[in-house]
Structures are given as C-alpha cells and as structure tokens.
C-alpha cells in the first residue's frame, strides 16, 4: 500500500521539442499556482528534452518554484520509451503528490504509460482542477459523452494523482523575470536500443500552420456557410480583425476546410477573447471546445440555434448579407 504522506508537491510536466517548450506546460503552471498556495506546497516544473535550460528558466518565470530537468540528445524528439522511462524515474525518486501533463498527442501518448507503470490513476482532458476541501485530494473535472456530461474524478488512494489538460483550456500567466528558483539536473539516460520506435521522417505542413489555441480572436464557420467557396467571406472577415480562421466538424466532414482548422471536442480547444461563430448551430461537441472563450458572437439564420444560448452578442440573419456588412463595419472602425 502506498504511504500517501510521502508524496508532496504539485508537478507540471513541460513538454519540449528541439529544446523549445510548448505553451501548454506554462498554461498548466498558471492553473496550478493557486492550488499550490491552497495546499501550502511547492509547484515544480519537470522538463524533459535536449538543451532545455532556458525552458526550465521560463517555467520558473511562469510560476514554478523549482524545475527538475532531464537533459540529453535522446530527448531531442519525442519517443514513448525514452520519455516514459525518464519521467517515471524522476517521479519515483521525488514522489510528487500531483502530476499534470498537457494533453497534446505526445502528452496523451506518454501519460497513460506513466500512470500504468506506477499503478496510479489518470484523468484525461480536464477542464477544471480544484482541491477537495474534505480530503485535500485533487478534484479533476472533465467532459464525457461528447461534452454532454461533466464528471468530477478523484484518485484518493494512489499517488501521484495524475491528470491531463488540453492546450488552450487555461491561459499562461504573466512572465515575471524577477522570479528565481533552483534548477535541478537529473542525470538519466536511455540507451538507443531501449527506444523501440524510430522517427524516420517529419513532414511539417508549415503553409497551413494555424494557431487556434493561441489566437485572441477566432472567426469560425459552420455548415451554414454553405460551401467551400463561401469561406472566402469568413477569411475576409478574419483578415480585417487579424483573427484566425476556425470551423466546425461538419465543415471538415464536408471537405470544405482541413482538420487543422477544426474547433471542438474532436478538434482544438480554444480560449480567445472573442469567438465569432458564423453559421454554426452549436452542437454540444462544438460548445465544449469554446467554453474558454471570453465572449461569443454568433451569426445564424436560425433564431433557435443553440449557439445563441451561449452567445454574448448575436445577429439573426442571412450570412451572405451579415458577413460582408460586418467586414465593412469592422473595417470602418479600424480605419
């Protein structure tokens, strides 16, 4: 039986690639900071990668008290075996009470193997994390059944309590370069023959790079846009606002836009200042992906569309009239 009292502190895993940290780790630090205050414990960043001293430093400026780094050329690119072995080794040495991991594809590849090897529980894709007052356990809230139901999950008798959070659910805090904290180097290496997968080739679709998770304004089109051709209007509206273009799943299924633009349960989770939903009815799976948006502005011809029930602003009308009119109105404001 695990002695629960041996386990202390909240850890946030900082995912890196080619030495560069992904934002989701910093977002998690910001979400975990108040929880560490509440528990009266340290917030520790654990960074695995190659040449990651500056990523560890950034983690401290984003709110970590300390950073533990596992550095080596074998961690330049993600591999399941190297990263799982390294993370399990440091978890077993330091015994954190809580471990949070960004739910990128790599994070979701690694986290279940780590929790399974340790024999602890893991809650996937949390949208809210709190401390249960009665027990001091982490309370992980996550959507299930396509966002139709929310569940609060705890892991009372196993440590560390593990959870993943998708990018864009929380926001980064303020970068405070006056913050200081110890950076601990853990020497842990994985031999080449222990890594059973090999990266043969990487193909980056740079031309299509779409940063929905970091976008301040998103203009998103749904089935109501009508055709791939009509998306031109969406792009024009987005251009005036300096916004990123998103879309609903129906649009991807229809082949009007590539999956990389998809917002929602099976696409990206977003948290912009303003989300403009054009011709999107508001299926629950889509709403689950935009729950973090500050303001929602919906344009739809159907006044009964569910999107209006979450909208701060709305226009009921024909998109072919409203979208060009809006583009013009914003252009005037910006002039």
């Amino acid at each position: 039986m695990t002695n629960l009292n041996e386990y202390r502190n909240i850890w946030v895993y900082i995912e890196t690639e080619c030495g560069k940290a992904k934002n989701v780790g910093f977002e998690l630090l910001n979400a975990a900071r108040p929880l560490a205050e509440q528990k009266g414990c340290e917030l520790v960043a654990v960074v695995i990668g190659n040449s990651i001293e500056s990523a560890a430093r950034d983690a401290i400026c984003y709110g970590a008290d300390r950073a533990i780094i596992v550095d080596g050329p074998e961690y330049e690119y993600y591999s399941t075996d190297a990263f799982v072995n390294a993370l399990v080794a440091v978890v077993q040495k330091y015994k954190p009470e809580t471990l949070m991991i960004g739910a990128t594809n790599n994070g979701r590849d690694m986290a279940p193997r780590v929790s399974c090897r340790i024999g602890t529980g893991l809650t996937a894709d949390c949208t809210e994390i709190g401390v249960d007052e009665a027990t001091g356990n982490m309370a992980w809230t996550r959507p299930t059944f396509g966002g139709n139901l929310m569940a609060v999950i705890m892991c009372p008798e196993h440590r560390p309590q593990m959870g993943t959070v998708r990018p864009g659910v929380f926001r980064k805090g303020v970068y405070d370069e006056t913050r200081t904290g110890e950076i601990i180097h853990e020497e842990f290496h994985v031999a080449a023959d222990e890594i059973r997968t090999k990266l043969v080739e990487r193909v980056q679709e740079v031309a299509d790079a779409v940063d929905l998770e970091g976008a301040e304004i998103i203009v998103s089109g749904g089935r109501g846009v009508g055709s791939a051709d009509n998306f031109r209007q969406i792009f024009e509206l987005a251009e005036v606002l300096g916004a990123t273009v998103g879309c609903s799943r129906a649009v991807v299924d229809a082949g009007w836009m590539p999956h990389i633009h998809q917002v929602g349960q099976s696409g990206k989770t977003v948290a912009p200042k303003l989300y403009i939903a054009v011709g999107i009815s508001g299926a629950i799976q889509h709403l689950a992906g935009i729950a973090g948006a500050d303001k929602v502005f919906a344009i739809n011809k159907d006044p009964e569309a569910p999107i209006f029930s979450v909208a701060d602003y709305g226009i009921v009308g024909n998109l072919n009239d409203v979208v060009p009119a809006l583009t013009e109105a914003f252009r005037k404001l910006k002039a």
Partner: protein, 267 residues
Amino acid sequence: MNICVCVKQVPDTTEIRIDPETHTLIRAGVPSIVNPFDTYALEAAVRLREKLGGRVVVISMGPPQAAEAVRSCLAVGADEGYLISGRKFGGSDTLATSYILSEAIRAVEKKEGISFDLILGGKQAVDGDTAQVAPEIAEHLGLPQVTYALGIEEKDGELRVKRDCDNGYDIISVKLPAVVTVVRLPYEPRYPSIGPWLESKKRTIPVLTEADLETVDLTRCGLNGSPTKVKKSYTPVREKHGVILSKVPADEASAKVAGMLREAGII
C-alpha cells in the same frame, strides 16, 4: 500477421441526451455503435491480413449486449471475436480495463494457438474520450506503441506508421509486436456484404469471464481495482443572456455589434 483489434461498443454520442434530473444518460432509444475510430483500426487489420495472411481477432469488453459489436466486426472481415464480460469487471476505470484486456489478449492467444504481432485500436472511444486504454495495454504487455496513426504499412517485418502531429505528421517505424492506435485512414471502413453479414448472424460469440482468465488478479479489476473514482457528475449549464439582434437590417446590426465590441475593449 496475426492481429488483435480491441473495439468498444459506445452510444452514438451525437444522439445521446442527459436526464436533467438524475444527470445520467438516457439510454432508451439511443443506438449503440462500434466506436468509429475502432472501425478504422479493424479495416486496417483486415487489409494487412489480405496482404500478408494471418488472422484478425476482435475482442471487446462490455456487457452481454456488446456481443453485437463483436458480431458486426465479423461481418466486415474479422476471423474471430470474443466478448470479455464478467461481473467482477463492472465499474473498471481505464487502468483496470486495460489490465483485464491485457489478460484477455493472453488468454485469446492461448485459445487460438497464435501470438499476436500487432494489437490495434482506435485512438480513443467517443464516449469516454480518454485515449488511455491502448497505451496502458501496451504497458501491461511490455510492448512498444505508436498512437494517432493516419496510415499503417508493413515493410520488411516492421511497421511504418504515419503519425498525426500538430502541424503535420511523422513517419515512425516500430518493430513487431507492437500496439498501434488509429485516428483515421486514407480509406473508409468497408460495409458488410450480404454473405458475411448473414454468416455473422449465425455465429456464437464466445464470452470470456473472470473464470476464463487464468492469471487475472481480481483485486485489480472492477470498481475496487480502479484508482480513479467518479465523485459526481452533472450536466453543464450553458445559459447566457446576450444581446441578440433579430429582424434588424444587416448593416445596421453589424455596425451596432461592432460598436459594442469596440466599447467593451474587445477589438
């Protein structure tokens, strides 16, 4: 190549409704389907077998009615299918489920007299959305894994997997045996043709219970063997009362909303 495909029977989440009083699923009238990602995994398995020979065996853990999900896999090319179902298995979280499935895979290998070169599944089930069970099966069995496959090819006894990345894809090679999870593939899962469909209706789906898994440790199964506990569930409330302009000319409405956004400091 002998391939085990793990499938899950799920409610069609585009059709489900929640009882607002009890916060539970209204299951009545909601169709059950094979998890869509798993249907791609099965199609990939059948194509590999058509090219390389071997057997495709489907396993599914669930209540007795999940036998229908296994049967529907037999109709689209699986050679054999097992339902993993037992009273001690109910209430399992992902860790307990993956443990039971890893024991079941060993038991099925013994029954079929084969060893699996590849274990395939969908990237996640559309009801739970966790994406945890397959990597955990790989961990229990000590196998390498590649997740988020967009394409799978066999080459000189190795697999080449096209793996989905944020802004592109990787080609990953992995030696067999291995576990691979599938997002989607360049081809669609086949529909059953009439002969195999009729044939599948006549088949009995063998059920493996706790009694059939010789080495299973029952303290690691079911609710008690699950480290995570659901403390409560609730229906998300999404009710705002925003400014919705209806029956206002487009340019007038647009100017008004644009003005409000400017005033609120949003643009």
